[in-house]
């Protein structure tokens, strides 16, 4: 009798112990996740959570021994009611709880707030400096050796009566480096039109070919030499990475350009181009933001634009106040990054991760 009472009491205490299992839509997201919470008696041996989909298919989403916890079930159907069952195993008994929740898609990703704020700060800074440049404020720009040399390279080609080779990288127009390269090409084309030096531009992609043709033609018109523009000097080789390189190598060996420019996005082929160019004795300038290829350009070219220098080039060459203003905006971003890192490191030393987590939210 006593034993029976005891068992009864234990049973009651289980019942009294707030065994809870809740599900709720994960807030501020794309409506594909549900947050599951459970809190069970500490005597729980094993917990299994199942998702019961419409066709009575049962998927086990979690298996754990933790008596309480939180789990996010993700990659779910949007705006849909989802049913869950929790099966808890105690020493001799099992308990089954059920709950439902509906996924909802919202209009803002809260975890990306840090990302948005920093992006807006950088953009506003850039726009602000562009505006103040428009109003006449002058900005200083430090020397970039690789760009000063452009004049020298064109001069050398003119002197020798040999062409200039310009390679706009091996990426398509979906890479900003290619677009930055086309901007540099426009300056170079203008100069070469003035000097009446031939400019050869082989392209890997048709889209780049189209844009490059426009850019060069425009530059020749601007320089007042539309007659000197040769459409056939800007051509397509092949979409293939190494096929393209083989073709350029052939051009370097046969046309013997006096100056080579490699600007844009480059991969493994960087050293093939630069070494072949070196062997032909051309004066070489390269520029890329592809960190892994920079060493090869640095060792084999006369001048190299490192990373951001590629993007600063158009401001540097044109001395256009708007471009210089934009560059000042980038510098503001750098200052912000440096301060963020230093503050972040100091906070980390004291064990505070608020700032890091706030910024990291976006990338998770």
């Amino acid at each position: 009798m006593k034993a029976g009472l005891l068992i009864f009491l234990i049973f009651i205490s289980w019942g009294l112990y707030a065994n809870s299992f809740t599900a709720m839509d994960s807030p501020w997201d794309d409506g594909k996740a549900i947050i599951l919470n459970w809190k069970l008696s500490p005597m729980t041996r094993n917990v299994q959570i199942q998702r019961i989909t419409d066709s009575e298919n049962i998927v086990t989403v979690l298996n754990t021994t933790l008596p309480e916890g939180e789990f996010v079930d993700s990659a779910l159907e949007v705006n849909h009611e989802h049913h869950y069952r929790l099966i808890a195993q105690f020493d001799e008994d099992t308990l089954s709880l059920e709950t439902t929740a509906t996924t909802r898609e919202q209009w803002f990703y809260m975890r990306k707030l840090g990302f948005l704020i920093l992006l807006v700060i950088v953009c506003i800074a850039i726009i602000y400096y562009i505006q103040s440049a428009r109003r006449g404020k002058e900005f200083y720009i430090r020397r970039i050796a690789g760009l000063d040399s452009m004049e020298e390279a064109i001069g050398r080609a003119t002197e020798k009566g040999r062409p200039i080779l310009y390679v706009p990288g091996i990426s398509d127009l979906d890479d900003i480096q290619t677009i930055a390269s086309l901007t540099i090409l426009s300056h170079l084309a203008e100069r070469s039109a003035e000097y009446n030096t031939e400019l050869i531009v082989p392209c890997r992609f048709s889209m780049v070919l189209s844009a490059a043709k426009e850019v060069v033609k425009e530059a020749y018109i601007k320089a007042g030499r539309p007659d000197a523009y040769k459409a056939e000097n800007i051509f397509y080789l092949t979409d293939d990475q190494f096929g393209y390189v083989a073709g350029i190598d052939g051009i370097m060996l046969r046309e013997k350009p006096a100056a080579n420019f490699f600007m844009g996005s480059f991969y493994a082929e960087s050293l093939i181009l630069a070494e072949t160019g070196f062997a032909t004795g051309a004066i070489q300038t390269a520029g890329t933001a592809q960190a892994h290829q920079l060493p090869f350009f640095v060792v084999s070219c006369d001048y190299t634009l490192i990373g951001e220098e590629l993007f600063a080039a158009s401001a540097y060459l044109s001395k256009d106040p708007q471009q210089l203003g934009s560059l000042k905006g980038h510098d503001f971003g750098k200052l912000m990054v440096i301060i963020l890192i230093i503050v972040g490191v100091i906070l980390e030393i004291f064990g505070i991760s608020v700032l890091k987590d706030f910024i990291a939210g976006a990338s998770s």
């Binding site: 127009l173 901007t183 048709s206 070919l209 490192i306 990373g307």
Partner: protein, 232 residues
């Protein structure tokens, strides 16, 4: 009009793409993948422009008997061959206009397109890629010279990492006692890769990233527009 409408389009598209990053609600969360798919389709059409440029150029050289015209003829023939094979019998599992060409495949051991791919395209591509081994040697010979502090740093780290990556490193400093393990070549090379190298790579990524953000912003705002060319 011919100039401003494209600029407005670029602005609208760019702005919507950025907005959609922060809005999890439909239709915004599908915009980017849709645009990316469109990009693929548009450039799929555009590839013809390049190919036509290639054919025109080669024919021009052949017809006018410019120097080396025979090689351009060979190029044109191989282009046509590969294209015809691909269209007629397809590639790999994809059938072409004439199906999968079982007859010719059993004769060649593969579809004609794949046969050319394996026996011509692949070796050409792999061999061209492998030229890098030679160029890395000649570049090292010429450029890793003791000159100033900066070029010394370049050379010394290169040498340490080259030694550390092979069994040479293990042999050279394997005898070092436990307390001096840090100076063991493979460990030192790993240290350089993990810390100073990562630091510089990060600096390049961050500043170039800012350059890209700025350039993108200028494009969206229509300040950077050289890609559109002239007015006419």
């Amino acid at each position: 009009m011919k100039r401003s409408l494209p600029l407005i389009l670029a602005f609208l598209v760019g702005f919507v793409v950025i907005l959609s990053e922060f809005i999890p609600h439909r239709p915004f969360n599908q915009i980017v993948s849709t645009l990316e798919q469109w990009f693929m389709i548009i450039s799929g059409f555009a590839i013809l422009l390049g190919q036509i440029s290639l054919i025109r150029m080669n024919t021009h050289k052949i017809v006018n008997k410019l120097p080396d015209w025979q090689y351009y003829l060979a190029g044109l023939i191989s282009f046509a061959l590969m294209l015809i094979f691909g269209i007629l019998w397809g590639m790999q599992e994809t059938p072409g206009l004439l199906g999968s060409g079982e007859g010719i495949s059993s004769w060649l051991g593969a579809k004609p397109f794949d046969y050319l791919f394996t026996n011509a395209y692949m070796p050409l591509s792999a061999t061209l890629f492998s030229l890098l081994a030679f160029f890395i040697a000649s570049a090292a010979y010429r450029a890793f010279i003791i000159r100033g502090l900066e070029s010394n740093l370049l050379m010394i780290t290169a040498v340490i990492v080259i030694i550390g990556r092979t069994s040479i490193g293990t042999m050279l400093t394997g005898w070092l006692p436990e307390s001096m393990q840090f100076w063991h070549f493979p460990i030192l090379a790993d240290f350089i890769m993990e810390y100073p190298n990562s630091a510089a790579q990060r600096a390049i990524l961050i500043s170039a990233g800012l350059g890209i953000v700025g350039s993108s912003l200028r494009i969206i705002l229509g300040i950077e527009r050289s890609y559109l060319g002239g007015e006419k």
